[in-house]
Amino acid sequence: MASAVMPKPAASPTGVRRARGSTLALHVVIAVICVFTVFPFLWMFSTAFKPADEVFTQDLRLIANNPTWRNFPDAFDYFPVAHWLWNSFGIAVITTAGKIAISLPAAFAFARLRFRGDKLLFAMVLATMIVPGIVTVVPNYILISDLGWMNSWIAVIVPSLPATAFFVFLLRQNILQLPQDLLDAARIDGASTVKLLTQIVMPNIKPAIAVVTILAFLGMWNQYLWPLLVLNDFESKTLATGMQFFTNNAESAQMWGPMMATATIATLPPLLLYLLAQRQIIDTFVTSGLKG
């Protein structure tokens, strides 16, 4: 059947030239947009390394004439930035571990075990996704204040733990995809349910656990409203919530160098995490975006 073999439409030289031209145009447009999106970062880095007198000059200079590290120690001297950094790390790491510790067993139970009320309970977990965070803020603030937890890590960590519905969903999807034979074989060997989870399921869904770890860490590192409310002591703040102190008094509001140095410190962990695991993070965000 000769007619089944379709000749490819021959590209005319002008067609090729036009295609190259439009490709170039796309590159130019996208490059311009990229410059606009990264510019705030560049300007932040740039200012963080400028001496005070260069910050306030009229000329637009990306790289300082006399680059300096001074802004970093200045920021640490003026505000308890070291405390904020430590708080950000501690809270993010503990909350991430806690979120995995509660969502992984639940995801496993909802994926592989049958028990009375399982569907209803799972629906109750998923339904929390549509509750806007702001709605629960006042009662939770009263509760944390009554418990005397104000200004402590625990005040941020514990109420943040249950915001894991999406992680439960993601982990459950991954556990559902494991072959039933794998679990049956372990069952026949007499493995208990808990062993099934720790020795069969967990080693087999490591990529999904990595994804949840990255998302949970970023989410907690960047968390704003809740720590803003319950961390009122100067030294109890996180980086994301402490930074606003720079703008609170007339002197530090003009300390743009140290302010941008602090902002640089706050953006570095997410950016480094991104550079280390670019593929993983992009895939993570794409999957998380498609949760609907």
């Binding site: 590159h27 999106t37 702001i134 994301a240 498609l290």
Partner: protein, 318 residues
């Protein structure tokens, strides 16, 4: 003989009882295990998400300021008094403004960008482009806002420096009630551009190659393929982005409002979420804040329901 046999059977009986007991114990613990596995999560959800919802509704019927020991019952007073507060009306306008400006910007701009990146996806620069466009997504909103605070600074900010360079007048970006809300719109657009673009790109990658090849065999050109095959097949993603943007856009800008303008100047940048925050934590009007919380929750539920219905009817999964 008889004695030994009796002894034997007694021993067997003991073992059976022991085995039965162990089995019952095993059954019991195994039967409880699922509940033990879900308990920590469900208890925390009950305490910190569901109970606050109920308690908000309760608080919305009282006049209270956090400190006073007694709450005064006012019925629906907190709800009926809201329209009398000009700041509440400003907040509703702000909510509408953010929705009307940011939804198209956050839904269509990234779509256009994705469609421009798609034809050059094989380019060596593709990963760098994506990394640069995506970087604003992974940093904190509040930190992003501080970066922009410096850019918008009226005296030394780079934006005004550029304007002056080109012969324009300085703009008081954040302290002028006509421009402040636009400044926040710019930051919010910048923050989500790369994220939504990635979702669209992932959807474009998911379009089966057979469809495209079949269309090419039939002589369809690139534009026809985009319009008749690619776009219809990415509509689920399009609607997903639309739905989540509509629902979360006013929540998302909280950090930007808080750092850049604190709702001002003259409440020109506030929205319903920010109004709730100020009522609760700046003016300590717990009743009013709770009433707004109830309204926001009901509105979110309604929006989610409407969008589900709409998407069900209009989106075809490929």
């Amino acid at each position: 003989m008889a004695i030994t046999s009796q002894h034997h059977s007694a021993a067997r009986g003991d073992r059976q009882v022991a085995e039965k007991r162990a089995w019952t114990w095993y059954r019991l613990t195994e039967g409880l295990t699922p509940y033990l596995l879900v308990a920590p999560l469900l208890i925390l959800i009950a305490i910190f998400i569901y109970w606050p919802l109920v308690y908000s509704m309760y608080l919305s019927f009282f006049d209270w300021n956090f400190v006073r020991p007694d709450k005064e019952f006012v019925g629906f007073g907190n709800f009926t008094r809201l329209p009398d507060d000009p700041r509440f009306i400003r907040a509703l306008w702000g909510t509408l403004f953010y929705t009307v400006t940011l939804v198209p910007l956050q839904v269509f701009l990234p779509l256009g960008l994705a469609l421009m990146l798609w034809p050059i996806r094989k380019s060596r620069l593709q990963d760098s482009y994506r990394a640069m466009l995506f970087s604003p997504t992974i940093i904190a909103y509040s930190v992003a806002a501080v970066m922009w605070l410096w850019i918008f600074n009226p005296n030394h900010g780079v934006l005004n420096k550029v304007l002056v360079e080109f012969g324009f007048d300085r703009v008081r970006w954040l302290s002028d009630r006509d421009t402040a809300i636009w400044a926040i719109v710019i930051v919010a657009t910048w923050k989500t551009l790369g994220f939504h673009m990635l979702l669209y790109l992932a959807a474009l990658e998911g379009v089966p190659k057979d469809y495209i090849e079949a269309a090419q065999l039939d002589g369809a050109n690139n534009w026809q393929i985009m319009r008749s095959i690619r776009f219809p097949l990415i509509t689920p993603t399009f609607f997903f982005v639309l739905v989540t943007t509509v629902i979360s856009v006013n929540d998302d800008v909280f950090g930007a409002i808080n750092v850049l303008t604190d709702g001002g100047p003259f409440d020109s940048t506030t929205n319903i979420i920010y109004y709730l925050y100020q009522q609760g934590f700046q003016f300590f009007q717990i009743g009013a804040a709770s009433a707004v919380a109830v309204i926001v929750f009901v509105a979110t539920c309604l929006l989610t329901w409407v969008q589900f219905k709409f998407v069900e009817r209009h989106v075809h999964y490929g």
